[in-house]
Amino acid sequence: MSARLHAVSNHTRPAVEVRALAKTYPGGVQAVRGIDFQVAPREVFGLLGPNGAGKSTTIGMLTTTIKPTSGSARLAGFDVVRHPIAARAVSSVVFQDSVLDKALTARRNLDLHARLWGIPPSAAASKITELADVFGLSEVIGRPVDSFSGGQRRRLEIARALVSEPQVLFLDEPTVGLDTRIRYELLDLISGLRGRTGMTTLLTTHYLDEAERLCDRIAVMHQGAIVAMDRPDALLAALGPELVELRVGQDPDGALAAMRARGLAAGDAFAVGSTLTIPLGSHSARDTITAIASLGIDTEAVTTRKPTLDDVYLRLTGSRLAA
């Protein structure tokens, strides 16, 4: 088990407990289909999947803005349906889109959160000063938010969520829409939170590097269901240390079948479009490529590389995480 992972022991209440949670929207769209998971205190847990996988609906149910159709969910022991106010009191959310009072100053936005979460004014003032410093907002804290850049707004929103020192922090696609430099700066900040606070973080993303870098465990969501859940390294290990990727000229399914028949590809090999991905397992890359060449497959390109979470996702679902 990862040293970072703080598993739920028999003496510890899970920070997030989800049981058979489902949501069907009016019109019959099944956004979430009875998912189960637990997140331990101080764990960083990622929900990974493409748009439409059910991640945001799951976050919506956990933050009491979407009513579950069935199942249950608890935050720090509080049921989100039966005790929604208590569940909200122990959590904070950073939304996918900017959700700020843009006419107000950054300080006013932070102060509003503190007051609505019942933080005493003196404690709030020192917390706001501290967070503004950590998030590099000290010089702009008195400015209206509508003068902020996208990166500043996102940092402000994360700082705001931390003012109330939540037991559970939800980050819903926190870096979506940001340019690469700002995105990496933000990942550094989020990654640094682990050392500063004892909170549990539930993160949704479709960026694989984000999930690998930040999360202790990942649940892969596909069409409203969790299709895999484990540590990132364990998910990757299932594909072995290396794989071969081939782009074939025609009939990828036939090529894959031929390779399977020769024992070059196992059940975990998969085809997406004209690209075949073949985990090597115990075979060497050189022997495998030589053997493939002997099959007479019309091959346009061959590469070897280490597996990524995208390969994990492709193998599980047959579609890519991000376009």
Binding site: A7, V8, S9, N10, H11, R13, P14, E17, Y25, D36, F37, Q38, V39, A40, E43, G60, T63, T64, T65, I66, K67, A76, G77, F78, I85, A86, R88, A89, V90, S91, V93, F95, V99, L100, D101, K102, A103, L104, R108, N109, L112, H113, R115, L116, W117, G118, I119, R160, R217, I226, V227, A228, M229, D230, A234, L235, A238, G267, D268, L316
Partner: protein, 289 residues
């Protein structure tokens, strides 16, 4: 192969300790202060609704009075009659403009942050309503002061002012509740603004603002009697203008003016409670999928 692992299940534990959260009154005050701060950044929300009623009260009403040379019942001059009647236009316009803030909050503001706060969601509606009431009272005060400066004569007694303020409060609560319902039901600001004439202006013409409702065709007079605007205007004039309560008598036709006034206030209070409860329900339902 699909790998699914889970953290070990926890044994049942004692009920979790209730986390800290603000008192309802503190949360309500915070939400009201937030709305004041936002309104202060858009002064047009406050000034624009005042422009039309002021024009009516200070320019159009005196001009009409010159042409008509009318003296209302109870010896009230026509210009003053219209100035008080203009309150029935001012409050709906103010509340309708306040409703735009609800749409802005939803589309580009911090509404979702508020929805995840550990407070009853009804307080979000009530916080905004408190500011609408405050702004309405200030504007009504400004309108009446302008009328007084223009030469209107009011007959204000403590009891009359109490009827006046009670009517303004109940009518503002009713109108803000209506604006909140519409703002939460209507998807775009453009569609919402398009409804303003129907909600704010049309009832005002029928409610005895420029002439007594008895001057309307009989069937339309019965429609007017059902409008909250008619009741508020009759109460306002009874409070500071016409102690004979002619407008109230036109509605109820009873021998006791006090009973007429109490009944009209009851109608307004009933509408205010009903619409506020509906507004909270509509907001809560629209906020949760």
């Amino acid at each position: 192969m699909t790998t699914i692992t889970a953290a070990p299940a926890a044994t049942p534990l004692a009920r979790p300790r209730a986390p800290a959260r603000p008192s309802r009154s503190a949360a309500w005050a915070t939400l009201a202060r937030r709305r004041i701060s936002l309104s202060a950044h858009t002064p047009r929300e406050i000034l624009a609704p005042l422009a039309t009623p002021l024009l009516f009260a200070l320019v159009i009403a005196p001009a009409l009075a010159k042409i008509i040379q009318a003296t209302g019942r109870g010896g009230v001059d026509y210009s003053t009659f219209v100035i008080v009647g203009t309150v029935g236009l001012l409050i709906p316009l103010t509340c309708t403009f306040a409703g735009i803030g609800v749409i802005v909050d939803r589309a580009a503001g911090a509404r979702r942050e508020l929805l995840t706060a550990p407070i009853p969601r009804a307080l979000i509606v009530l916080g905004n309503m408190a500011v609408a009431i405050g702004v309405s009272l200030l504007q009504v005060g400004a309108l009446m002061a302008a009328g007084w400066l223009r030469g209107s004569h009011f007959h204000a007694t403590a009891g009359g002012v109490a009827w006046f303020i009670a009517a303004v409060l109940a009518f503002t609560v009713f109108m803000y509740g209506l604006a909140e319902i519409l703002a939460n039901r209507i998807p775009t600001q453009e569609e919402y603004v398009g409804l303003t004439p129907v909600v704010a202006i049309l009832p005002w013409f029928l409610a005895g603002s420029l002439f007594p409702i008895t001057a309307l065709p009989a069937w339309l007079a019965w429609v007017a009697r059902a409008l909250p605007t008619t009741h508020v205007l009759a109460l306002l004039r009874y409070g500071v203008l016409d102690r004979t309560g002619a407008g109230l008598h036109d509605i109820w036709g009873l021998t006791s003016t006090t009973t007429d006034a109490a009944l009209s206030l009851l109608v307004l209070a009933g509408w205010a409670i009903l619409i506020t409860a509906t507004a909270i329900r509509v907001f809560t339902r629209s906020a949760v999928n």
